[in-house]
């Protein structure tokens, strides 16, 4: 059996300006190609059949990780492998490094990009909930200009995002969490390479033994990544005592609406989101400076 995508015309622009001009001209017939590890499988299954592919691989300005005055800016074409290998991220945002190593497998991480992972809108992808947890914003560009979209406002549903036709994601801007923060990404999966049955991202910081700040993102338990703001609010000001954690877990479970699928029935996946959150909170607490 061969799975052959529908025919398309291939474009390989050498500047971002050229890329957005092409996409503006092609409109709905064009698709940007990053690492291709979400798009190409969909093309092989003929779930996607773009008539034109605009390959972003030649755009060196979309690569790299830099410190930009309190924010870390990651170029959209930076691979998961490069995220995991970055000492700058390891020091400033260890959550990102930890999470990249939980994505797919080595071969996919060498090619799959952060930009593709967050822009595709697949609720199974891990990075969107992590970006929501970290309050990242997405830098996007079209032929007519640039804008920033908060990760928390980007996701509208499965494969539906705020990215407009003719726009490409150029970079991901992430505020560096406070010094001494603790972080964890807990992902339940059936095997390496699988999407999460449920996963939770946590960053928190303490002051005088109580939680000073807390943010929580949930993966693959709704048709889009979730920001569990209510659950985090319950924890702020507490010492993460078991009763408060239990209330926060219940609040997080209450906002989930997972599908029943091969990963389990909906009520199981909701409960697993709670279990992942409780584990992530415990691990983030261990890692935080109290």
């Amino acid at each position: 059996m061969h799975m052959i995508p529908a025919a398309f015309t291939y474009h390989r622009p050498t500047s971002v300006q050229e890329a957005v001009s092409l996409l503006a001209r092609l409109g709905e017939e064009g698709r940007a190609l990053a690492g291709g590890h979400s798009l190409i499988p969909m093309m092989k299954l003929r779930l996607a059949a773009p008539q034109h592919l605009v390959d972003l691989a030649g755009l060196s300005e979309l690569r790299g990780i830099r410190d930009d005055g309190g924010d870390i800016v990651v170029g959209a074409m930076t691979t998961q492998h490069e995220l995991a290998a970055s000492d700058l991220l390891g020091a400033k945002i260890p959550l990102l490094r930890e999470a990249s190593l939980l994505i797919a497998d080595p071969q996919v991480r060498y090619v799959g990009t952060l930009g593709g992972n967050v822009a595709n809108g697949d609720p199974g992808n891990d990075m969107p909930a992590i970006m929501i947890c970290l309050d990242a914003s997405y830098e996007v560009m079209s032929e007519t200009g640039r804008r920033r979209i908060a990760a928390r406002a980007f996701y509208q549903g499965a494969y539906l995002t705020a990215l407009g036709t003719g726009e490409i994601l150029t970079g991901i801007r992430i505020p560096v969490p406070p010094a001494g923060h603790g972080q964890a990404y807990e992902k339940l999966k059936r095997k390496i390479g699988d999407y999460a049955t449920a996963a939770a991202a946590v960053i928190l910081s303490f002051s005088g033994g109580t939680v000073k700040s807390c943010s929580i993102g949930l993966t693959n338990v709704a048709d889009k990544p979730l920001w569990a703001e209510g659950a985090a609010d319950i924890l702020i000001g507490s010492a993460l005592d078991p009763a408060t954690v239990k209330r926060a877990v219940a609040a997080a479970e209450a906002i989930t609406s997972p599908a029943s699928d091969a990963r389990g029935p909906a009520h199981y996946r909701t409960k697993m989101a709670g279990v992942m959150l409780a584990r992530a909170l415990a691990r983030a607490k261990e890692r935080a400076r109290n």
């Binding site: 061969h2 015309t9 291939y10 590890h37 060498y110 090619v111 390479g193």
Partner: protein
């Protein structure tokens, strides 16, 4: 649909060809270059049988288009044996340690292990298992694949191979 000209280096040899943009790298290697060592296993980016080495990365050649890798330096299982025909340490390891049964996953396993050993000269068992997590084997249970990679690492490092106690 018009074809695109691509040029790349495959196993040290310069290659030029015309490809349809939708031609996947694995089909280009197997059907246009007749390099049939890399296999199509699952066709869905899971099994790793199609793994080749591309510009210092292990990649699944069923999940990229040949046009994307224009200009790349590629190594496949056919490029692994030494110039004098003797086996690469990894090939020898898979033979000596019985790292294969049906052999279908072996080219992908060896190409992935090749890059793993470039990045980590003496991986422990956990690192090997994590490093080959993108390659599925349905025969061996992986035990002897891990040993084969350890055998090769020892040989490359010039130290005696010691099997870990079971």
């Amino acid at each position: 649909m018009s074809k695109s000209q691509v040029s790349m280096t495959v196993n040290g040899r310069a290659v030029e060809a015309l490809v349809e943009p939708r031609t996947l790298l694995i089909h280009f290697l197997r059907e246009q270059l007749n390099l049939t060592g890399s296999h199509v296993g699952c066709d869905t980016s899971h099994c790793g049988a199609c793994t080749v080495d591309l510009d210092g990365k292990s990649v699944k050649s069923c999940t990229m288009f040949a046009v994307q890798v224009n200009g790349a330096d590629i190594r496949t299982i056919e490029g692994m044996a030494n110039a004098d025909g003797t086996l690469h340490a990894l090939q020898e390891g898979f033979r000596e340690m019985h790292g294969l049964q049906c052999g279908f996953c072996t080219p992908g396993m060896i190409m992935r292990a090749y890059r793993l050993l470039q990045e980590n000269k003496s991986p422990n068992e956990d690192e090997i298992r994590f490093g080959i997590a993108g390659n599925l084997c349905r025969c061996t249970g992986y035990q002897n694949i891990v040993k084969a990679i350890q055998y090769a690492a020892a040989k490359i490092n010039g130290v005696p191979f010691q099997e870990a106690a079971e």
